[in-house]
Subunit: 351 residues, 2 copies
């Protein structure tokens, strides 16, 4: 159905519906729907000026918003490119050379601003086709709740949920990355137990396909450093599955990864935090490496420092099997719904 | 020396020197020095437009910056107010009614911007007199490093540092808060072992002196909720000092505090994270209560969830005596310097 389409041609289809899904201070996300297919366009301008987008979306009479957004974007023939892991459905979109300024002029005049704002760097990204989970993640979600996940809750709800997700094939892209078929140009280290990649979220990184690694060393982009170590053992979906038997591997990882990052980028290990997410974004255990001044995704109710994980497993090899782990979930998350149903049913049984 | 002065009159003294210490996207901090006395003025405008301030400070020929800043600020007769904990030296400063707009017009014309920016809310705060530590905290510090604090490092460096700070009298303001002499109007709960206050960092909170508590309930400011539980036991300086013997008190605290917050503000416990900082800002153990969508100060290398602290002490009553604790320190922090000296001396002994 989608094989001969791309997100830019979808935009030009007369039946395409568009709306502003989310507009924060530095990015806006548009949702496009055409028949059964959805696509997301994330536009990042620093500083973005939320005002621009809220003015587009404030005129949201039926059909009116679509017309305005489509009119704004249709003039532009986006050049699409994609990381080699194209199965993510992520595309970088660049208006053909020279068109960014005209795009911005159109955008500002469109919302009735006459002065020319002083825009910073721009990024434009398509996700096509976009899954329900991707749309949900891109939607504004003012409401999250803390979950205290006991081993029992994990066993009855979270673990079956993870198994379903894995069986649905949502991790097939990782097989390609782990086998070296995809993203080889992003790989910093490949060992028996894990590999270390430049995370695709590190957008300011010099193009791994076209720049030599000497250029990466102390490049200004290292300010945004974001690397990822992915464990190869398919039985370790997340932090929950770690046991004392993984200690040697974790210690090796904590020893060698920061060294590889230092050698590649010139950033010393004491400037980098190494941590798991729980819940993670995908269920093949992985470790984030970020600069300590960069706080994205590093909240205490989500992050678990590898230094701490090692000490915990040394204290008790079954530490993560026994613990109640606290994390925040959006109330629109499918896992949140399942937990809510389970806990309500337990409460009514107890009553 | 400073008894008959205030930060606004200091500004009007001809010998006062001024410079921009820090200008981020939402606030700027000015440092004023006059003789031996220093004062900080923190100006918050959302969105701030760093550009405005960098243009003031770019003209930093000797004396020129002082003249520009003083000229900008001297027109305004700030009305000073202070939380009852005035021993912090924190003052809220408001230009007399009607002057904010004129202040902004002056500010923008001053830096050569002709259009009238669309400013959000404004806050102006003086710290006077400002200690070296306060100035250091307000200074830009692009560089922090991760410290892995072993029990040995704590015993030899951190603990003596904390004792010195405490003996210098830096905690006398807490005695006044704990005794109920100060900030009584901010107190939500006072028990044998701890009290719960509205944190003074919660700037959007309706004035505790003049608004009734019914007004606080589901006030729009609860979006920024920030409360603080302070332990009364003077022997517990920080997370490091917690032992199994504190478990009952911590469980009581985790039981009653979220209920008091819910009763006062209408926010349910599963929307609030409860956590220690290590290192903390001051060394009388205290717990932060913030909304989970508000990520300020909640980084994984700084925050320790009370839910986790309780489980850790249940596993081992001496957990925090035995652990290596990881945290980030600015390289300008006096504690960082002491740790660096200690580790260098150990390394040279080992060599």
């Amino acid at each position: 159905m989608t094989s001969n389409r791309d997100p830019a041609s979808m935009l030009r289809d007369s039946s395409c519906q568009a709306r502003v899904l989310n507009a924060s201070d530095n990015h806006a996300t548009f949702l496009f729907e055409q028949g059964e297919v959805s696509s997301l366009l994330k536009l990042t301008i620093l500083p973005f000026r939320q005002r621009l987008l809220s003015q587009i979306s404030s005129n949201n009479s039926e059909g009116g918003e679509t017309a305005r957004i489509i009119k704004l974007l249709q003039h532009y023939d986006f050049h699409l490119s994609s990381e080699s892991g194209a199965e993510y459905s992520y595309y970088n979109a660049t208006p053909r050379t020279g068109l960014w300024n005209s795009f911005l002029t159109t955008l500002t005049s469109f919302v009735g601003i006459t002065s020319s704002p002083d825009f910073g760097p721009l990024q434009c990204e398509f996700i096509y086709p976009a899954s329900d989970r991707q749309i949900q993640r891109a939607s504004p979600s003012p409401s999250s709740r803390l979950i205290h996940e006991t081993p029992e809750l994990y066993r009855h709800v979270t673990e079956p949920y993870i198994q379903e997700l894995k069986q649905s094939g949502s991790l097939s892209w990782i097989d390609n990355v782990l086998s070296g078929e995809k993203e080889k140009e992003r790989c910093l280290l490949d060992t028996q137990h894990f590999l270390v990649n430049v995370d695709t979220k590190w957008r300011s990184h010099p193009d791994p396909k076209t720049t030599s690694r000497e250029v990466w060393y102390q490049h200004e982009a290292v300010d945004d450093l974001y690397c990822l170590a992915i464990l190869k053992d398919k039985n370790v979906s997340s932090l929950r599955d770690l046991r004392g038997s993984h200690l040697a591997m974790l210690k090796e990882l904590l020893d060698v990864c920061p060294k590889v990052i230092e050698k590649t980028y010139g950033i010393s290990p004491d400037m980098i935090r190494c941590f798991f997410h729980y819940q993670p974004q995908f269920y093949q255990a992985h470790i984030h490496f970020t600069r300590i001044h960069n706080e994205i995704g590093a909240q205490v109710e989500r992050g678990h420092l590898v230094h701490d994980v090692i000490q915990n497993l040394e204290m008790d090899p079954d530490y993560y099997a026994k613990r109640t782990i606290t994390y925040a979930l959006r109330i629109t998350d499918p896992l949140y719904h399942r937990i809510d149903v389970f806990q309500s049913s337990k409460a009514s049984q107890a009553a």
